[in-house]
């Protein structure tokens, strides 16, 4: 008997949970394999995998050959990602394509795309003894350049520095790329070792959605049968909860860069929601405070006081952290900081009208109402639910958001506390370059 999770059918195929959802409204399908491991040592090696896996497989040797193979499959997409969920790393191996019935001669796109994904995952070219060394050297160099280039996007740089400062000593503080020093110190065998580690010991999940074969489990079984067997202890085990520091004085970091506009990043801590209801209340509180053009923050600092072009609050509920980011004149940083905290206090104190609250709820519900239109979006939502351990369909999320009481929203806002204030300020060139 199959069961369901977040609106997907659940089966176990060769030891891997398979979540699938057929949607005949679609014209495409998507396959995604996720491997979750605790964050920490090895981040730089894991982050290099998406770059190395671009170079094809034994059968499609090199990036041009792989790209041409995808073009022949009517622009099949896909790729490898290295993301985070709370304080874990999630490697994703995805493939998507137009279903055969919408194409001339009705080719068997599913089998072709599945086999391509399997080939890339299990016989990647970067493992080849001869080609591997050159590819490693090239991609490590590129990864290092890309990590340094974060400096060119000052908002991104400020965000990265703010998280590093606020989360010093926590795995979350390490940048997605692993850090320049870790990239520079990488050894050629490490990315393959991290791929093996994830394949053998990672918490696995395979998701499929869209136009699927009659028997989805049988259709994907060859791929799952070919994967190395993980240990029973690791597969399906919930990850360790992320670190959360005890209450402490607000930290402050000020840095300088040669630029015109100051970047302010305020890092807040908040309780990590352990049940859907808590997540809903937190989502509405963040929306009301700084979650878009309707929010208190946007209306106050941009629309009423013309202090900035953008000002937004965004949260990572699975870490228990949220950030407010603003670009403004350096002399307005104090005023923006004060206004941000005032607006949070107002929401926490219940100082918001019923109309404001209703708007925040509607804004939160909007994306979930139409999520089923997007196979990729629906699949990503379900993956997030699985990783979080919540079992809600988008329709249940809409209903849950609609059922949140005002008190729960104000309580959620009251639980958000400033932890670190990061300022990147315009400075004369020489000082900023010397700092860098």
């Amino acid at each position: 008997m199959t069961r369901s999770f977040a609106g997907f059918e659940v089966e176990e195929v060769h030891g891997t949970p398979l979540l699938w959802r057929r949607d005949q409204r679609c014209k495409t399908f998507r396959i995604s394999l996720l491997l979750q491991r605790p964050m920490g040592a090895g981040q730089a090696a894991r982050a290099l995998l998406p770059l190395l896996l671009q170079h094809g497989s034994e059968q499609h040797q090199g990036r041009p050959a792989l790209a041409r193979a995808r073009e022949r499959l009517f622009g099949a997409g896909g790729g490898t990602g290295c993301g985070r969920h709370g304080e874990s790393t999630v490697l994703s191996f995805a493939a998507d394509a137009v279903a055969g019935e919408f194409l001339p001669q009705r080719p068997d796109q599913f089998t072709a795309v599945r086999d391509l994904l399997q080939e890339l995952l299990l016989r990647p070219r970067f493992r080849d003894a001869r080609a591997g060394a050159e590819l490693f050297a090239r991609e490590r160099s590129q990864a290092l350049a890309a990590a340094r280039a974060v400096w060119d996007d000052k908002a991104h740089y400020a965000r990265q520095r703010a998280v590093a400062a606020a989360c010093a000593g926590e795995p979350y503080g390490v940048p997605d790329h692993g850090g320049e020093a870790a990239i520079a110190a990488l050894l050629p065998h490490q990315p393959a070792a991290m791929l093996d580690d994830a394949l053998h010991d990672g918490r696995r999940l395979l998701l499929m959605s869209g136009v699927l074969p009659d028997d989805p489990a049988a259709a994907i079984a060859p791929l799952l049968a070919a994967l190395p067997r993980g240990s029973a202890a690791s597969n399906g085990a919930a990850p360790v909860p992320p670190m959360a520091p005890a209450a402490r004085p607000v930290g402050r970091t000020v840095e300088y860069a040669p630029m015109q506009q100051a970047k302010l990043v305020l890092v807040f801590r908040m309780p990590r929601p352990v049940a859907p209801g808590a997540l809903h209340a937190l989502q509405i509180a963040l929306s009301l405070w700084g979650g878009g053009a309707h929010s208190r923050l946007f209306q106050e600092v941009r629309e009423r006081r013309s202090l900035c072009y953008y000002a937004a609050a965004g949260g990572d509920a699975d870490k228990g952290l949220c950030m407010v980011q603003v670009g403004c004149d350096a002399e307005q940083v104090e005023a923006v900081t004060a206004a941000t905290l005032e607006q949070l206090a107002a929401v926490a104190g219940g100082d918001c009208s019923d109309a404001e609250l209703a708007t925040a709820v509607a804004t939160c519900q909007g994306p979930f109402r139409s999520l089923d239109d997007s196979p990729a979006g629906r699949l990503a939502y379900t993956a997030e639910q699985w990783l979080r351990g919540f079992d809600e369909t988008p329709a249940q999320r809409v209903a849950g958001l609609g059922a949140v009481a005002r008190d729960a929203v104000t309580a959620a806002a009251a639980s958000i506390a400033l932890d670190h204030e990061y300022r990147l300020l315009p400075a004369p060139t020489a000082a900023a370059e010397a700092q860098r």
């Binding site: 679609c26 622009g75 040669p258 309707h294 013309s306 202090l307 109402r369 139409s370 239109d373 900023a432």
Partner: protein, 423 residues
């Protein structure tokens, strides 16, 4: 109102094309299987429309950034901030200003009729006062500064400024802090009266909508009838203004950007689409991930994955751009230049792959109300028939591609812009 029903040749779905009594062109893409409705109204007014003829024939000149400023100001009316009205219905509304168009759009999963009515109203009933124009100046100045801090944005306009001596494409879309200082409420209203007209706009609505209801709301749109005024855009099809442009900035690595300038006007959608399709094949052959030539540049260390190529082609200007970050900008520029002018062969196998990729892309677009509405609105404004772009791609031959390569990829069309790392 005139109406025409057309069947999508890719997936067999319907497109309704209509023109309202006041001349607003409309496309409706009824997709009952979708849950989201997306609507896009786009105007033929962008950052390059800096000078135009007024009703009395005199030429009106405006500061850089005027179209973008006007876009900002339309998001405000007497009763309420427009963003909040849409947000209260769970809808998302926004706008963008480009070189030749300003586009307003929303997407939502409910109350689409009210949202569409409000979208049409915000374009058709400006509430522009000296006070609210002054209030917006600080916000736009921050947006301008944000872009001025972006090395990639700066590099693109360094190149455009070197390619074009006269054409206003050389100015940033948002203008500068100095140029927006000269923008006033009467000027914005004058520009609105000139360009926000039914004959200079196109509307597309996609999703689970009733065609007749959409057309009825479009018919009620209060935009004034008429065409856009004559633009007084300088013809700038001579050779490049400067062959090289350089600047320094606090960047992690130098940036090099090569641009190839169009030397002739492209009148009509078909001419622009054919030019763009053939240029796309040329750039793909040289610089796409599927190109062995690009891979060879990588292997010898001349470029890295920051390499990108693009093409923008409008009636009065056009440019193909190729660029990357590089520790040795001189060597990277030389390698890219060498490849641009290499004797490269094109073949039917490449064309067939690209046609397949494009076919897949068009099927995918059919899954997204937003992609459908954006694509069809822009196509309609540009004067294209539905799916004419697919016809252009199908008709493209290797000979067309070679001719295009020979026309555009010439040394006298080339400029190299370099952003050096500040020492």
């Amino acid at each position: 109102m005139t109406q025409q029903r057309i069947v999508d040749p890719v997936v067999g779905e319907e497109v309704v094309r209509a023109v309202t009594g006041t001349g607003l062109r409309v496309r409706v893409l009824p997709r009952p299987q979708l849950r989201e409705v997306a609507a896009v109204i786009t105007f033929g007014y962008g950052s390059t429309d800096l000078a135009f003829a007024s009703d009395d024939g005199a030429v009106v000149t405006t500061p850089a950034g005027t179209a973008h400023y006007l876009e900002h100001k339309l998001f405000e009316d007497e009763e309420l901030a427009v963003f909040q009205r849409f947000a209260a219905r769970g809808a998302s509304v926004n706008a963008q200003t480009g070189f030749t168009r300003t586009t307003y759009h929303f997407h939502a999963s409910g109350e689409w009729q009210q949202n569409l009515q409000d979208l049409l109203r915000l374009c058709a009933r400006p509430h522009i006062t000296p006070q609210n124009v002054q209030k917006e100046r600080g916000i736009i100045a921050q947006e301008v500064r944000m872009y001025e801090d972006s090395p990639a944005h700066g590099a693109a306009f360094l190149l455009l400024g070197a390619l074009y001596a006269e054409h206003p494409v050389r100015h940033t879309v948002g203008g500068t802090v100095a140029s927006i200082d000269a923008i006033t409420a009467p000027l914005l209203l004058q520009c609105w009266h000139a360009f926000y007209r039914t004959g200079n706009a196109a509307l597309a609505v996609a999703g689970p909508v009733d065609v007749d209801a959409v057309l009825e709301l479009a018919e009620g749109c209060a935009l004034p009838a008429g065409a856009a005024p004559a633009r007084a855009t300088p013809a700038d099809f001579a050779g490049v203004h400067r062959e090289r442009a350089e600047r320094t900035m606090a960047v992690a690595r130098p940036k090099v950007l090569l641009g190839l300038k169009e030397r002739r006007e492209a009148v009509g959608y078909r001419a622009r689409a054919e030019r763009a399709a053939a240029t796309g094949v040329v750039l793909d052959r040289l610089f796409a991930p599927s190109s062995d030539l690009r891979e060879a540049l990588h292997r010898r260390g001349a470029v890295d994955d920051s390499l990108g190529a693009s093409y923008t082609g409008e009636r009065t200007f056009g440019v193909a751009m190729v660029g990357c970050d590089a520790d040795d900008a001189v060597a990277a520029a030389a390698a890219l230049r060498e490849l641009l002018f290499a004797d490269v062969a094109f073949d039917d196998e490449q064309l067939e792959r690209l046609r397949r990729r494009q076919f897949g892309h068009l099927v995918r677009i059919g899954e997204s109300a937003r992609a459908l509405a954006h694509g069809h609105a822009l196509e309609e404004l540009d004067g294209a028939r539905p799916f004419e772009g697919l016809e252009v791609l199908r008709a493209l031959t290797v000979a067309d591609v070679v001719r295009r390569r020979d026309e555009l990829l010439r040394a006298d069309n080339l400029c190299i812009a370099t952003t050096h790392r500040r020492a």
